[in-house]
């Protein structure tokens, strides 16, 4: 069974590498980028041998813990799990969950994420090669940690796969996981900040040490603390951490087994009557009957009713908020005012509107034929989506901006407000344009929103990065004026108008050029967004 599943996974991998040039290029780009991100982490872990034990411990535990968190929330908006090996696909075969688990686990290890995690694990062992016993502890700890990390996506996906039953339940659980991931991360940040504050320590090292103390007793931090315990000769702590780490793995495997068993016996999505929608909603009364307005109105409905789109909005909000809160937390722990980073959240969020809007057409899947057969103009499609999406997204961006200003004082309003307008507008324009050129594979309608179709992950990362680069280039002049408004008076008056002009011009460009592109290539776009089974 193990050999069979691993063989299957190998064939799928080989096919995805042999497939279309664009996908392979995206896959390679993502691999290179992830290596660039992982290499410094490995380097830091590996050179810890020369530093003092307390510092080395703090770095290992915090970085290791963050790695585990990455395994929880990176799949939300990056690669996701390949649903080729989803549990429900085995439902018709006479196999038990217990027989599937080893094979699925080993097959799941054949991936970029597992490889990079293993590299980090090896680097940790190198860094803790202080003495024989410590080396052994590091080896045990790193192994436990890597096993825990690579188990997380299995547990998450089989627990929340379509097999769990009703669609409504899935909608809610999907959001619950995101909420949990956000909440958990923010809570950890807040806790570490609070702890370092109560001790009155200004030193970063002391703050890190306290954070590591707390994290080492959590399920995702325990394994990383093992080598330090042995190095200090603290047998009780070592035993405690070992118990926590092993218990974590046990619980994860048990959870996976339970979820898998249920998925194998209730594979079919039982249709549940979700209830009726109101016959005449506000959306219809407020909007005109033009194609643009009608498409915008559908988008407004879909952002409420389509869990995949809901999830895309949530994961769009996740990254900037995590960045903002983390940076604010760390700088505050270091005794400096970290408020300014909260102001960065709004423009960062505005930037991510670009990729999210660009992906929207893919979520329609083959239902897009309706637009083609009714002769919707390309620009109507582009503008309709933009307006519908903006109605949801712009209030969030504005709210985040004003929250940042409220915390840090009104001085940031003009520069950061202007930057937010410029970046958000250009992101919407660039997103409209790119969405008509590249259609990223997404999970098909009604499927598990955590799956990403087959191999859409790398392409979506590349499109996101492309959007961000384009947005930065196009909005650079407006951003420069916004930055100048800190120091010169004319720029205070010029910043917002320049930002608005940049935003409106880019949106107009994106809608017109993207629309023309669609007009020329509707049938090809339809083929591209249709989910390939």
């Amino acid at each position: 069974m193990v050999a069979l599943l691993v063989g299957l996974r190998f064939r799928l991998l080989r096919r995805s590498l042999a497939g279309g040039g664009r996908h392979r290029a995206a896959l390679i780009a993502v691999a290179v980028i992830s290596f660039l991100f992982t290499a410094p982490v490995c380097l830091v872990m590996a050179v810890l041998g020369g530093t003092d034990v307390a510092f080395a411990r703090a770095v290992t535990v915090i970085l290791g813990f963050s790695l585990m968190l990455a395994w929880i929330w990176l799949p939300l908006f990056l690669t996701g799990t390949d649903d080729a090996l989803a549990a429900s696909r085995f439902a018709l075969l006479p196999v038990s969950a217990a027989r599937l688990i080893p094979g699925l686990y080993v097959a799941g290890l054949l991936g970029l994420g597992s490889l990079l995690t293993a590299l980090i694990g090896i680097a940790t062992v190198v860094g803790w090669a202080r003495s024989g016993p410590v080396l052994v502890a590091a080896l045990v700890g790193a192994t436990l940690a890597v096993v825990t990390a690579t188990l997380i996506p299995h547990v998450l996906t089989s627990a929340f796969s379509g097999a769990l039953g009703s669609r409504r339940f899935r909608d809610i659980t999907g959001l619950a996981v995101v909420g949990f991931a956000v909440g958990f991360t923010i809570l950890m940040q807040a806790a570490s900040t609070a702890i370092s504050r109560t001790d009155g320590t200004a030193s970063v090292v002391a703050a890190l040490d306290h954070t590591a103390n707390v994290l080492s007793w959590t399920p995702f931090g325990a394994a990383w603390a093992l080598p330090a315990d042995v190095a200090r000769g603290d047998a009780a702590a070592a035993l405690g951490h070992l118990v926590v780490a092993v218990a974590t793995i046990t619980v994860l495997v048990a959870g996976w087994w339970l979820a898998l068993r249920r998925a194998l016996t209730t594979p079919l999505d039982v249709p549940d009557i979700v209830g009726r929608v109101t016959r005449d909603s506000v959306i219809d009364r407020w909007l005109s009957g033009s194609a643009t307005a009608v498409i915008a109105g559908r988008l407004l409905r879909y952002y409420r009713r389509d869990p995949r789109r809901l999830l895309s909005v949530f994961s769009m909000m996740l990254a900037p908020i995590l960045v903002g809160v983390s940076v604010a937390g760390v700088t505050a722990a270091g005794g400096r005012a970290g408020g300014i980073s909260l102001l960065l959240v709004a423009p960062l969020l505005g930037m991510l509107l670009g990729p999210t809007l660009a992906f929207d057409i893919s979520y329609d899947d083959s239902a897009l034929w309706t637009h083609i057969t009714t002769s919707v103009k390309g620009w109507e499609d582009r503008l309709g989506r933009l307006l519908g999406f903006s109605t949801i997204a712009l209030p969030i961006v504005a709210l985040v901006l004003f929250m940042g200003v409220a915390v840090t004082g009104s001085g940031g309003l003009v520069p950061f407000g202007a930057a937010t307008i410029a970046v958000t507008g250009t992101a919407l324009g660039v997103g409209s344009h790119l969405g008509s050129i590249i259609q990223v594979p997404v999970p098909p309608p009604g499927s598990n929103p955590f799956g990403k179709g087959s191999g859409g992950g790398p392409l979506s990362v590349v499109v996101s990065l492309l959007t961000i680069v384009l947005v930065l280039v196009v909005s650079a002049p407006a951003l420069a004026v916004a930055a100048l408004s800190f120091s010169s008076v004319w720029a205070v008056y010029a910043a917002v108008p320049v930002a608005i002009v940049t935003a409106v011009a880019t949106i107009a460009w994106g809608v017109v050029t993207g629309g023309r592109r669609l007009d020329r290539r509707w049938p090809e776009v339809l083929r591209e967004v249709t989910y390939k089974r």
Partner: protein, 251 residues
């Protein structure tokens, strides 16, 4: 002038020529059947006829409008029910009809009344406020047909309209289509159920290997045989050899 004229249509996917020089003329006011075995190229042909798939060669003309050089003019005249494509299924049945009607450029009030009439004609009035993703396969077919009809097209192109439809709904659809044809509309429908085509259509084309093998009125094609028998002759029936699958015989 025929309602639909297809000339030398070609579409290849890689090495496989799914449609290989297919020509077809559907007379105005006819109920025209397109039959063929699985993989004959029916759906590929209909996708090219409706402007959803770009042909490699050949032309498609709907009442004088070329689908690929005058798409807006041609598409305004046709109503489409594709097979195997999603609909916007997170809309309710009523919202979906309204959506299509408004995109077709109908007035809001007209869209509203037509949605009402179509929903009750197709027996969906009680489920009009339910999301289409909660519909059964048959109900989804019916709502698709409603969307195809809402702008009163001159030519209806239906891919497997009776698949997954229960007998009661099937009869309802048959009645609607017959009334539509008798008032001057033209229907082109694909099916691989010969009985349906034999009972409903006045003309048909048998398609296999991406080409038309026989076309004309029902009697022309049948040549005195049953349609099923003639069809098997045309596409080449295969007989199971007596030795194969011997292990299946349980006694």
């Amino acid at each position: 002038m025929p309602a639909l004229r297809v000339t030398n249509l070609v579409k290849a996917f890689g090495d496989k020529r799914a449609v290989d020089g297919l020509s077809l003329a559907v007379p105005a006011g006819s109920m025209y059947g397109l039959v063929g075995p699985n993989g004959a190229g029916k759906t590929t042909t209909l996708s090219m006829v409706t402007g959803l798939l770009r042909p490699d060669a050949g032309s498609v003309e709907v009442l004088g409008h070329d689908v690929w050089s005058d798409p807006v003019g041609a598409k305004a005249l046709i109503g489409v029910l594709p097979d195997g494509l999603h609909v916007f299924d997170r809309l309710s049945g009523r919202e979906l009809i309204r959506y299509v009607a408004l995109l077709r450029g109908l007035d809001r009030r007209v869209a509203e009344t037509r949605a009402d009439e179509l929903l009750s004609a197709l027996g969906l009035a009680d489920d009009a406020e339910l999301l289409v993703c909660d519909y059964s396969a048959g109900m989804t077919k019916k709502i698709g047909l409603a969307c195809a009809l809402v702008h009163a097209p001159r030519l209806l192109i239906l891919d497997e309209p009776f698949e997954a439809v229960d007998p009661v709904s099937g009869d309802m659809i048959r009645q609607i289509l017959k009334a539509y044809v008798s008032s001057g509309g033209t229907v082109l429908l694909s099916s691989h159920v010969m009985e349906i085509v034999e009972a409903l259509c006045d003309s048909l084309a048998v398609v296999a290997h991406g080409r038309v093998q026989a076309a004309g009125t029902l009697d022309d094609v049948r040549q005195g045989e049953s349609l099923t028998g003639r069809f098997l002759d045309l596409v080449g029936a295969r007989h199971l050899e007596s030795e194969s699958l011997a292990w299946l015989h349980s006694s």
